[in-house]
Subunit: 136 residues, 2 copies
DNA sequence: ATACGTGCAAACGCTTTGCACTCTC
DNA sequence: GAGAGTGCAAAGCGTTTGCACGTAT
């Protein structure tokens, strides 16, 4: 269940591909999928491969140049408590804790002022290191 | 990109399998994966299949008896804005909007009182229907 | 009797990876 | 020229699905 760090090169190089991917990422607010980015970059670099897109997205995410909107692990996890509550996720071991803290008052109402969608619920999740992973 | 509703039966039946899955789900706070639940239920119903577990988890989630901790869509989406900010996710069409709202003050400090992990960041996401999907 | 649920295995589809080659530094 | 990055294709792997059979109502 542990989320392993993989080996990273000692330094990063500038390549057309990486630059183009970052440019596409910066240029859109659509929260694109890897494949959408691939199609877009292909207009400029027709022979780029999807694998390269994935590799660079991962690197850019690790460098803090982008965010990947998904969970660290590849599979879904289920919570048998259907009530709205918050979670703490350990970014190292993947462990998820329920937080017993009270819900933040008026959060959805506040957010409603910033979108014209209809808000029906929310999800709040804290990330960091659990006690065990922090200790080592 | 649209998240389709699939056909549901007109009524649900009680089965040993469904009951066992729900019981396992209720019994743990570990936010298990489908496979973990499968292994657990297998102790009681050795011939249950993983497909059945997935099917029931989906149904239980739709019935509001459990939560699935992942995004509605199966692929990752990327955000070229690396700053911490909140999102609005349309549960119908999958569209994701950036919210320009200010960060909630003191949120991580508050949460830190309820866990012994070290909090380093958080993620807040509002769900509902975007304007277009709400209108139809 | 009806039609929902299950087991099994194959199919799916997004993502990752091995390998030989290319390109930065 | 060392080693990081790329393209291609195959492999990985969690999840879904088709089908024939079982079973709750």
């Amino acid at each position: 269940m542990s989320i392993q760090q993989q080996k990273r090169p000692r330094f990063l190089r500038h390549t057309r591909q990486r630059e183009a991917i970052l440019r596409v990422l910066r240029m859109t607010h659509e929260h694109p999928t890897a494949d959408w980015i691939y199609q877009e970059v292909r207009k400029e670099i027709p022979h780029i491969s999807l694998g390269t897109v994935y590799r660079n997205l991962k690197i850019l995410t690790e460098m803090g140049e982008a965010q990947e909107m998904s969970y660290g692990s590849s599979y879904s996890r289920y919570d048998g408590d259907p009530r709205l509550h918050y979670h703490f996720v350990c970014d190292d071991c993947g462990r998820i804790e329920d937080l017993e803290m009270p819900l933040v008052e008026g959060l959805e109402a506040k957010a409603a002022e910033w979108t014209d969608g209809r808000i029906e619920s929310h999800r709040l999740e804290f990330h960091g290191l659990c006690r065990e992973c922090n200790g080592r």
